[in-house]
């Protein structure tokens, strides 16, 4: 498998705090790569550098063969990096269908089209509908997004990310704030795309991580202390000490 995302020696400090210390990481094409780590390990900082919200102090990020270390946010999206947000980030005043249609539209040429009604474009709507169906929201297509539940918002986020037909999904805590039932549903949804879509998953929910990940990287105090298969991570002494042990206490 070829490397889709390559992170080399990434560094980022805030004042005296080194949030990212010499992080190097590869995400292979087609794999689900999870990043776990205790609170304050620098997961959010890392992901915001990957999607261009924050610029690293040093290091290199390559995605799909292009160096994107300092590329702006939208440019990375156009290269095929789609992200879901830790805190729900959708268009509250639009219906679920419109939310996804707007995402489809993002990768369907430019949007300097002023005359034709967007909500009656069948091609756009049908495509959006398939993504809604995949995440199990087809029956709520015409409900305003502010009127659906938290769990459904998270599912919508996934549909919107998928709708841009990305090379990689950057999932920032997709299970955040979910009950166990909702989490299980989300795992099922993501499982459908396993092997098909490359995913970088940052998640606290260990059940979800071990159910989905092909490989796991463990981030502690801004450093990657291990990258390996789930079983190996489970048995890794350093990881147990730094992370899993802590949680078991």
């Amino acid at each position: 498998m070829s490397v889709l995302l390559e992170i080399q020696d990434l560094q980022k400090s805030f004042g005296g705090v080194k949030a990212t210390k010499h992080v190097s990481l590869d995400v292979l094409e087609g794999e689900v790569h999870a990043i776990i780590g205790p609170n304050g390990a620098g997961k959010t900082t890392l992901i915001s550098q990957l999607c261009g919200e924050q610029m690293p102090d040093a290091g290199l990020i390559r995605f799909a063969g292009k160096t994107i270390t300092r590329a702006p946010f939208p440019a990375r999206a156009r290269l095929g990096m789609a992200r879901s947000f830790q805190i729900t980030s959708v268009f509250q005043d639009m219906t679920l269908l419109e939310n996804v249609a707007l995402s489809v539209q993002a990768h369907d040429g430019h949007s300097f089209r002023f005359w034709k009604r967007a909500d009656s474009e069948t091609a756009l709507n049908e495509k959006a509908m398939t993504f809604l169906t995949e995440v199990g929201l087809a029956d709520k297509a015409h409900v305003l997004s502010r009127e659906v539940s938290h769990g459904e918002h998270r599912q919508l986020e996934i549909a919107m990310a998928l709708a841009t037909e990305p090379k990689m999904l950057l999932l920032d805590e997709p299970m955040a704030g979910m009950g166990s039932e909702e989490s299980a549903r989300m795992v099922d949804i993501l499982k459908k795309f396993k092997g098909e879509k490359t995913m970088l998953l940052v998640e606290h929910d260990m059940d979800a991580v071990f159910a989905l990940a092909d490989r796991i990287s463990v981030l502690v105090y801004g450093e990657v202390i291990a990258t390996d298969k789930p079983e190996a991570i489970r048995d890794n002494e350093a990881v147990k000490r730094a992370y899993l042990g802590e949680e078991a206490d």
Partner: protein, 325 residues
């Protein structure tokens, strides 16, 4: 579509407003009140300006505090050529639109780098620059203003100096602009600017270069407002930098918010009620105490404040809620 679903308070009011506006020249002739045609003309022209401001304010979330500058530019695009004895409307109107669009492009390109209060301040600053520029242009009257002794000449048989004819030109313009805005807001482009208002971060994550879309919306809005200005230049025989001061920009914002910024037709309600209140509050006050009408600004301000504070979505929002009940 079910016909009875179309009969809602909002649609009835909209239809009534448009019909009454459409019949204004007839009504004022029948009742022999030519003065009211004057008010109606002003309402219709300002409605074009307010509706175009609403494209960026209501749908794009860009609060421009400098839109009166476009009205002024449009008016001077009529006044200055006439000063040099170029009377053709085929010069005036395209010139008004082009110069406004250019001004919007340049100022928008800079202003749209900022957000929130900064955007409000910088658009206001640009409009004040234009205000002071025209104030200092002695050739065109400076702060004394410029007399427009003729109207734009269009076709034979379409004489803009006839009040009724001119009114109809304005009215048709308003309807045309409203239809145009309706199409724009519901198009792919419109969806993008609404999305950028609602959640800019998400738009970026989806790959939209929102700045470009905002800028184009700003230019469209400025150009349409400039067109309203050209109508205004034909309406009044006298223009001055006063019409592009920041107070005027503020009034435009007020009209939009009063009428309901989330709706295409809202600004029309806004302008209508703003100008009617302005016109009739002094008269009503004089009924209570002779001479009290001079202080009409006080109740006017209070009414506007109450509407903004307590009627969410302005007049249009109020009518929508009547429908849902």
């Amino acid at each position: 579509m079910n016909l009875s679903a179309l009969i809602t308070p909002k649609n009835l009011v909209t239809a009534a407003v448009l019909i009454v506006l459409g019949l204004m020249p007839v009504l004022t002739t029948v009742f022999d009140q030519p003065f009211y045609l004057d008010i109606a003309t002003r309402i219709v022209i300002l409605a074009v300006a307010a509706a175009s401001l609403n494209l960026i304010l209501g749908f794009g979330g860009m609060i421009s505090f400098g839109h009166a500058a476009f009205v002024g530019i449009g008016a001077y695009a009529v006044g200055i050529p006439i000063y040099y004895e170029y009377y053709s409307g085929f010069l005036h109107f395209p010139l008004a639109i082009a110069v406004s669009a250019l001004f919007a492009l340049v100022t928008g390109a800079i202003s749209l780098r900022t957000k929130g209060v900064h955007f409000i301040m910088i658009t206001m600053a640009f409009s004040q620059m234009i205000f002071f520029l025209f104030l200092s242009l002695e050739e065109y009257g400076g702060d004394d203003g410029l007399l427009i002794w003729s109207d734009s000449e269009l076709f034979d048989g379409l004489a803009l100096d006839d009040p009724s004819t001119f009114y109809y030109v304005c009215f048709v313009s308003l309807v045309g602009v409203l239809l145009l805005l309706h199409r724009i807001v519901n198009s792919r482009f419109g969806r993008v600017i609404r999305g950028a208002k609602s959640n800019e971060k998400r738009m970026s994550a989806l790959g939209y270069p929102t700045y470009r879309y905002r800028l184009v919306a700003y230019v469209i809005s400025g150009a349409l407002c400039g067109y309203a200005g050209a109508l205004m230049g034909n309406f009044t025989n006298f223009i001055s930098p006063d019409m592009m001061g920041w107070g005027r920009s503020g009034e435009l914002i007020f009209m939009v918010v009063l009428g309901g910024s989330g709706s295409i037709i809202g600004p029309v309600y806004g302008v209508l009620s703003f100008l009617l209140l302005e016109e009739f509050i002094p008269d009503v006050m004089d009924l209570f105490a002779d001479g009290a009408g001079v202080y009409w600004h006080l109740p006017f301000g209070i009414i506007l404040l109450l509407v903004v504070l307590f009627v969410r979505g302005g007049i249009s929002g109020f009518l929508n809620r009547l429908t849902k009940r």
